[in-house]
C-alpha cells in the first residue's frame, strides 16, 4: 500500500491549516446536517400523520348526503352535464336545486345487512352546541350522536365506565361518552369523570347530561381528538335538535382490508347498494357520496412526502454551497502550494501521488464534515421533535441517515476535489518550482 503515504501527507497538510480546514468543514457540516434534519423530521411527520390517521380514520368509509344546488354543482355524468349546458343555452337559468335527501336509517340497515366488504356501520349526526362544565365551555367542537356500533367501527376501547345501552339509545337518554384526551384536558390527567354532569343550554333551558364512560386514548394521537363528545343518536336528534332533524348526517362504515383494489370494490359495493335502495336510476348521479378516509390519508401522506422532498432539495442547496466552498478551498490550496507540488515531483512523486494526496485532503475534509453534519442533524431533529409537539418522539433516526451522511459527504469530497487534484497532478514540475 504505497499510496497510504499520500493519505498521510494529506492529513499533515490539513493539520497545517486548521482554521481553513475547520471553516471548509463547516460548510459540509451545515449541508449534511440540514439534509439529515429534514429527512428525519419529515419521516417523523409522516409517521405521526400515519398514526393519527390509523388511530381514528383508517379503515372507514364515510357516506354523506349530496346536496344539489347552484352553489354545489358537481356533475359526474356526461348526460347530466349536457342537460345543464342545454338548459343554460335555452335560457331560463340553472336548473332548480334538487331537494336534498338525507341519509336514512334504512340506508344504515341496508349496508349492515348487504355489504359484504363492510364490517360494521355507525350512523352519526353532529351538532355544534357546546357543553359547559362548571361554568366553563368545553372546547373542541360539538356533540356527535351515534350508536353502539361506533366502538367497532373506530376500534375504540372503553377506559372508564361504559358505552350507551340499547335502552339509552331508544329513550334518547341524556348521557355522554367522552374521549380520554378531552377528559385529561377538562378534568386533569388520570381523573375518572364518570358520574360528572355537563350542562347544555338550549333556548335558555339548561339540560343536564351525565358522563357514563370514557374512550381510551388512541396510541399516537397528540393533538385534537375528533368526535370528542359522544351521545346516543336519538339524543342528538330529539333533544339537541329538538326533533327538528330526524336524520343521519354521516354513515361511517368500517372496511378492514387495506388492499387498494378491495377498497375500491367496497366503495363500489356501497354505491350499488345505496343507489338501489334509494331508487336512483342508472346514469343519474347519486345523491350521496362515499369517501374512503384511507385514501384521504394516503393523499395527506403524499403531500407530506412532497413537502419533505422539496425541503430536502432546499437542504441539498446548502450542501451544494458547501461543496463549492470545498472545491474553492482546494483550488486555492493547489495554487498556493505549486512549489510544494513541484518539489514532490522533483524528489520522485508520481502524478498519481499528487492526485491522491489532494483527493484525500478533500475527501477527508468532507467525511469529517459528514460526521459533524450527522451529529448536527441528529441533534437538530431531536430538538425539533421536542419543540414540535406533534412530532414528539417521532423524529425517527433510520439507518439510512447514516448512509446519507457518509455517502453524501464522500460524494461531495470526490466531486469537489477531483478537479483541483487533477490540476495539481498535471502541473509541470518546472512551472511548479518557479516561484512568484
Amino acid at each position: 500500500m504505497r499510496h497510504l503515504v499520500d493519505l498521510w501527507f494529506a492529513l499533515l497538510a490539513l493539520r497545517t491549516n486548521k482554521l481553513r480546514s475547520g471553516l471548509t468543514m463547516l460548510g459540509v457540516i451545515i449541508g449534511v446536517g440540514a439534509v439529515i434534519m429534514i429527512v428525519s423530521l419529515g419521516n417523523g411527520l409522516r409517521r405521526s400523520t400515519q398514526l393519527e390517521m390509523e388511530a381514528w380514520a383508517s379503515g372507514t368509509m364515510e357516506i354523506r348526503a349530496q346536496y344539489w344546488g347552484p352553489v354545489y354543482i358537481e356533475v359526474t355524468a356526461a348526460e347530466e352535464k349536457a342537460a345543464i349546458d342545454e338548459q343554460m343555452i335555452k335560457g331560463g337559468g340553472i336548473p332548480a336545486p334538487r331537494q336534498a335527501r338525507a341519509l336514512e336509517p334504512g340506508d344504515v340497515e341496508a349496508l349492515r345487512r348487504l355489504a359484504t366488504s363492510v364490517v360494521e356501520v355507525a350512523p352519526q349526526l353532529e351538532t355544534y352546541t357546546q357543553a359547559v362544565y362548571r361554568g366553563q365551555w368545553i372546547p373542541f367542537g360539538g356533540i356527535v350522536g351515534t350508536t353502539r356500533e361506533y366502538l367497532q367501527v373506530y376500534r375504540s376501547e372503553i377506559k372508564y365506565g361504559r358505552f350507551f345501552t340499547a335502552e339509552e339509545e331508544e329513550e334518547a337518554a341524556p348521557v355522554l361518552v367522552l374521549d380520554e384526551t378531552l377528559v385529561n384536558y377538562v378534568f386533569g390527567a388520570g381523573v375518572n369523570p364518570v358520574g360528572e354532569v355537563l350542562h347544555i343550554t338550549l333556548e335558555n333551558i339548561p339540560q343536564n347530561y351525565t358522563i357514563i364512560g370514557v374512550l381510551a386514548k388512541r396510541r399516537g394521537i397528540q393533538g385534537i381528538a375528533p368526535r370528542a363528545i359522544l351521545a346516543p343518536l336519538r339524543t342528538v336528534q330529539m333533544r339537541l335538535y329538538q326533533g327538528a332533524k330526524n336524520e343521519i348526517g354521516l354513515i361511517a362504515a368500517r372496511v378492514d382490508s387495506r388492499v387498494p383494489a378491495e377498497r375500491r370494490y367496497a366503495v363500489a359495493e356501497i354505491n350499488t347498494i345505496l343507489r338501489a335502495r334509494r331508487g336512483i336510476a342508472p346514469g343519474v348521479p347519486a345523491d350521496f357520496w362515499v369517501q374512503d378516509t384511507l385514501e384521504f390519508s394516503e393523499e395527506q401522506l403524499r403531500i407530506i412526502r412532497t413537502i419533505t422532498m422539496v425541503l430536502s432539495l432546499i437542504a441539498g442547496i446548502s450542501l451544494v454551497v458547501g461543496s463549492i466552498g470545498l472545491m474553492n478551498i482546494m483550488l486555492v490550496g493547489v495554487a498556493e502550494r505549486t512549489w510544494e507540488i513541484g518539489l514532490r515531483r522533483a524528489i520522485g512523486a508520481h502524478k498519481s501521488d499528487i492526485l491522491l494526496q489532494f483527493l484525500s485532503e478533500g475527501v477527508t475534509l468532507a467525511l469529517a464534515g459528514g460526521v459533524g453534519g450527522l451529529v448536527l442533524g441528529l441533534a437538530g431533529s431531536y430538538a425539533g421533535s421536542r419543540l414540535i409537539g406533534q412530532l414528539r418522539g417521532l423524529a425517527t433516526v433510520t439507518p439510512d441517515v447514516f448512509v446519507i451522511a457518509v455517502g453524501v459527504s464522500l460524494a461531495v469530497g470526490i466531486v469537489a476535489s477531483i478537479y483541483p487534484a487533477w490540476q495539481a497532478a498535471n502541473l509541470q514540475p518546472t512551472a511548479a518550482l518557479r516561484r512568484g
Partner: protein, 245 residues
C-alpha cells in the same frame, strides 16, 4: 558509442532546445545545446540571469523534456520514458538542491530527509536519514523544524534529502544564493567532498565566481546557447582513472 555506457557518459545532449510558450510569445530558453557529462564530473554552469542555466539544469534533471534534439541520460532517450518512469528516475537517480531550500515547514529535518524514500519505497528510512544528517553535520538537529534552523543548516538538510536515495547525479540550482559566505562555503565544501570521495556527479548552477573558480569544468551560457566549455585544474579525479584503467 556515446550512449553505450561503457565510457561512463551520464548526460548526453545533442542539439537540445527548449521553447516555452508564454502567451503569444515563444521563449527560446535553451538553443541547440550539445553537452556530455562523464560520471564523476564536477561541473559549474554559469551565465547571466535569463541565459537559460536553470532550464538546462531542469532538462538534465528530467523535470522538463527537450522541445528539440535528443537527450540521453545513462544511455536512455528521456523522451521515450513515460511520466511514471521519469518520476521514478528522478526519485531514485537524481538529487536536487534548490536556492530556496524547499523544505516542508511542518516536517522535522529528519522527515524532510526521509521524504524521497517515502515516494520510492512507500516508507521512510530513519537510519539512513540520521546517517546523512550526521554526514552534513546536523546530527543534533534531526528533530528541529526548518523554521528553527539557520539558512545554512536548512540547505544542508536539503542536501541530505537529495542524497537520501543514493542518486547518481546531484543537481544544485544556485545552492548558495540565499546563504551567507561562510555557510555557502561549507555547503560547497560538502559538495566537493561528495564528488571527491564518492565520485558523485555534481552540476551546480551559480552566479558565484568563487564556485566556478573551484569547479574542474565550467560551462558558460549566453542567451540559451553554450558559449564556453572549459576544463580547468584539468583532469579526471584519481579514482576514476583507476576505474578506467
Amino acid at each position: 558509442m556515446a550512449h553505450d555506457g561503457s565510457n561512463n557518459v551520464l548526460v548526453d545532449m545533442d542539439k537540445v532546445s527548449k521553447v516555452y510558450r508564454m502567451g503569444q510569445v515563444q521563449v527560446h530558453a535553451v538553443r541547440g545545446a550539445t553537452l556530455r557529462l562523464q560520471q564523476g564530473e564536477y561541473v559549474a554552469v554559469v551565465g547571466p540571469s535569463g541565459s537559460g542555466k536553470s532550464t538546462l539544469l531542469n532538462l538534465i534533471g528530467c523535470l522538463d523534456l527537450p522541445s528539440e534534439g535528443t537527450y540521453r541520460l545513462r544511455g536512455r532517450d528521456v523522451r521515450t520514458l513515460s511520466d511514471a518512469q521519469l518520476s521514478r528516475l528522478r526519485g531514485e537517480g537524481i538529487g536536487f538542491v534548490f536556492q530556496d531550500f524547499s523544505l516542508m515547514r511542518r516536517l522535522t529535518a529528519l522527515r524532510n530527509v526521509e521524504l524521497p524514500h517515502y515516494y520510492t519505497q512507500g516508507r521512510g528510512n530513519r537510519q539512513r536519514a540520521l546517517r546523512l544528517l550526521a554526514q552534513v553535520g546536523l546530527a543534533d538537529r534531526a528533530h528541529h523544524r526548518p523554521t528553527e534552523l539557520s539558512g545554512g543548516e536548512q540547505q544542508r538538510v536539503a542536501l541530505a534529502r537529495a542524497l537520501m536515495n543514493e542518486p547518481f547525479l546531484l543537481l544544485a540550482d544556485e545552492p548558495t544564493g540565499n546563504l551567507d559566505t561562510r555557510s555557502g562555503e561549507e555547503l560547497i565544501g560538502l559538495l566537493e567532498k561528495l564528488n571527491h570521495e564518492q565520485g558523485l556527479t555534481v552540476v551546480i548552477v551559480s552566479h558565484d565566481p568563487s564556485i566556478s573558480a573551484r569547479a574542474r569544468r565550467v560551462i558558460r551560457l549566453l542567451d540559451g546557447q553554450i558559449v564556453g566549455d572549459e576544463r580547468q585544474g584539468g583532469d579526471t579525479p584519481g579514482f576514476l582513472r583507476a576505474q578506467n584503467a
